[in-house]
């Protein structure tokens, strides 16, 4: 909230106005606090009704969870009610005192002003009298002076005016002293009110916790752990240095962040709203709250880019801001209806510090049974590729859902149990740099960090769920490097791989699959250019077919046909064997993999992808 400087005192000297301020607005706020306190009281009463009725209607585990969670609302609401009441009391008392001071100040200010005006007039009159200052105590005619120059009547008038001026100055002094006393009263009232508004009764229990300066990360986490979720939220929000300290340890502390975030519950959303720049990319924070934080940052960056474009004066600046706007708007397009879309979409990560990097999640990443990353290759960036990479990822999501349904899962449930991260989280190479492993190695660190955060959340919310990575072209080079460290990932599928950096052998829980179309020249070019062997040559990998074939639908027990994938960018095309098979292994259903048929039965190309030619 913006603090507006109060208006200056208007009497023409340096005593501030002791009665300044809009007390009617203060009373309006106090009234709204009282109303809110009443509403919270009603809420507490409603909770009493709910918890009283519930056991006679509903029993069992879910009922106990609901009952306990409902009862747990009462302490927070009690604190909130007390806060409203204290707030209303403090403002009402303050407004009354300010109005008393204002009433007392008004006549003093009027007397001061009146006396001041009188003095001006009397001094003006006195200046016209030919009697020097100070006025002589007795009349003494000037010898030899012409008649009328300085007569006794003038002297008497000068003496009288001097007396009036002295009297008015005394009045002013008295009024000023009274006003200064009222200023002191006002300062005391200000302090009393501010103290009341800052008291633990108004602010809540967290405000009594001693300063947390200089605490280690563990001490910070222990401190927060000792508070209720709401108090911990408010403490964290009011101590951004603590949040920054926790961010400094990220992603190594992702598990601790995930534990903290889970304990904050709904409070995590408040922290995300108040500190979006930190929470948006805080590994271990819930994907839901990160999405809220990143959307705030995205909207802010969009506004900033628009302002930049509006004020740009050179063609180069205009082009720069226009490109940035296009980039950011691609993210907006990918998000679509956001959390109300089906499946829900959220902005899982956003880095606008250099080239914009972003990842969009389709589904519930923290809770879904089967989560996957889709990692892109050369020339994939947010400006040119966000929308199409998202479409590929969404198609992969749909295929996984369809296979779960085919395997007997209810459709609504299947949609809840899949999540795909459309991850443009690293600076992909261009044709000149694709031979180098550098961007894969840098990208691998970023992918590792992201996976650490995701795993930390999923270990809490769905520890038995699976996590997969599907990676295209140079993205597979990046993913293999990332997973050469054991990241607790279950399945990796490389498709159209640009080759494996020697020594970056991936570690997987379940399996490593690779697929490559016979008519995909770019994979080979990438492998040769970079001197990186195909993952097909690694005995640890299993071949996953991308050619046409059949799979048996377990619901209908009928064979269903899948098409061959063609070219470097045809792997995620609908109805292809590659899409189907990648979906099957990443939901832990390798038994649904298609069996190839002979090349004579394979159809022609299914269409090209906008990413055709990407490595």
């Amino acid at each position: 909230m913006t603090i507006v400087n109060p208006s200056p005192f208007t009497l023409g000297y340096d005593v501030p106005d002791p009665g300044k301020g809009d007390t009617a607005h203060l009373r309006a706020i106090a009234t709204s606090r009282t109303t809110n306190a009443g509403r919270v009281g009603d809420a507490i009463a409603l909770i009493s009704t709910i918890t009283g009725d519930l056991p006679s209607h509903w029993t069992g585990y879910a009922a106990s969870m609901n009952l306990n969670a409902t009862q747990a609302l009462v302490p927070d609401l009690t604190v909130l009610k007390a806060s409203y009441e204290k707030h209303a009391e403090a403002l009402t008392t303050y407004a009354t005192e300010v109005e008393r001071i204002r009433d007392a100040a008004a006549p003093q200010a009027a007397a001061y002003t009146s006396a001041s005006d009188d003095i001006v007039g009397w001094r003006s009159q006195r200046d016209y009298i030919e009697v020097g200052y100070p006025t002589p105590r007795e009349y003494t005619p000037i010898i030899g002076a012409p008649p009328g120059l300085y007569e006794e009547a003038d002297w008497e008038r000068a003496v009288a005016l001097d007396g009036y001026i002295d009297e008015a100055e005394a009045t002013m002094a008295t009024a000023k002293a009274a006003l200064e006393a009222l200023v002191a009263d006002r300062a005391a009232a200000d302090k009393t009110c501010a103290d009341a508004l800052s008291s633990s009764e108004a602010r809540g229990p967290f405000s009594t916790v001693e300063s947390s300066d200089g605490l280690s990360q563990k001490e910070i986490l222990d401190l927060l752990d000792g508070m209720s979720p709401t108090e911990a939220t408010l403490y964290l929000n009011s101590h951004p240095d603590l949040l920054n300290a926790l961010a400094d340890g990220n992603p190594d502390n992702a598990d601790a962040i995930a534990k903290l975030w889970t304990s904050l519950g709904a409070g995590g959303t408040e922290v995300a709203k108040d500190h979006p720049d930190v929470v948006g990319n805080l590994e271990g924070a819930s994907s839901f709250d990160r999405g809220i934080a990143n959307k705030i940052v995205l909207d802010r960056e969009l506004a900033s880019a628009q302002r930049g474009l509006d004020s740009a004066t050179t063609p180069a600046d205009k082009e720069r801001f226009r490109t940035r706007l296009e980039t950011l708007n691609n993210i907006v397009d990918s998000l679509g209806a956001g959390m109300t879309a089906k499946p829900p979409r959220s902005l899982h990560s956003l880095d606008t510090s250099g080239q914009v990097l972003a990842s969009v999640v389709y589904g519930d990443l923290d809770n879904a049974d089967h989560a996957s990353y889709n990692v892109p290759g050369m020339n994939t960036n947010v400006h040119d590729s966000m929308t199409n990479w998202g479409k590929d990822s969404k198609r992969f999501y749909d295929e996984q859902v369809n296979l779960l349904i085919a395997d007997g899962m209810d459709a609504a449930e299947a949609q809840k149990q899949v999540a795909v991260v459309s991850w443009i989280g690293y600076d992909t190479p261009n044709p000149l740099t694709v031979g180098s492993p550098i961007q894969a190695i840098i990208g691998a660190e970023k992918l590792q960090a992201s996976i650490e955060g995701t795993t930390a959340q999923r270990d809490i919310h769905n520890p038995s769920g699976t996590l997969g990575v599907v990676a295209h072209s140079y993205g597979s080079t990046t993913a293999m490097a990332a997973l050469s460290k054991d990241m607790d990932v279950d399945t990796l599928v490389t498709y159209g791989s640009a080759g494996e950096i020697i020594g970056s052998h991936p570690e997987l829980n379940d399996g490593w699959y690779q697929t490559e179309s016979p008519d995909d020249p770019w994979a080979k070019i990438g492998q040769i250019t970079g001197g990186r062997p195909s993952p097909a040559l690694d005995p640890s990998s299993q071949s996953l077919d991308s050619q046409s074939g059949y799979w048996e639908n377990p619901s209908t027990h009928k064979l269903e046909y899948v098409e061959s994938a063609h070219t470097h960018s045809g792997y995620m095309v609908k109805d292809t064997a590659s899409l189907h098979n990648m979906a099957a292994v990443t939901i832990g259903k390798p038994e649904l993999i298609s069996t190839p048929v002979g090349p004579a039965l394979a159809p022609g190309p299914l269409g090209s992808s906008p990413n055709d030619g990407a490595l």
């Binding site: 909230m1 603090i3 706020i29 709204s32 009603d42 509903w58 879910a62 108004a202």
Partner: protein, 93 residues
């Protein structure tokens, strides 16, 4: 299985109670609680900070109530699905 002793009707009613609960603590416009015109920087700062905290507390309470409504709603859906499944199983016999 004790959870199944509950009726979908009661869960719907419970859900609406939680929605009402969330409404009791719904947040308000920042401008309505802006103390800046009070004539004292000290009071304005303290008042606005306290109001911000109240907004956060109310928001958290509202989100928690909505989560409980969602929990009751989810349970309601699950029970409806189970009822349908049981009915289908009975019909199959």
């Amino acid at each position: 299985m004790a959870d199944l002793s509950i009726s979908g009707e009661y869960l719907d009613s419970l859900r609406s109670q939680f929605t009402a609960l969330a409404a009791f603590t719904s947040t308000e416009d920042d401008a309505a609680v802006d103390h800046s015109s009070c004539g004292s920087d000290l009071v304005a700062t303290a008042g606005n900070q306290t109001a911000t905290l109240q907004l956060s507390r109310a928001s958290i309470a509202s989100l928690n109530a909505m989560a409980l409504s969602e929990h009751a709603g989810t349970t309601s859906v699950e029970i409806a699905a189970l009822d349908a499944s049981l009915a289908k199983a009975a019909g199959d016999k």
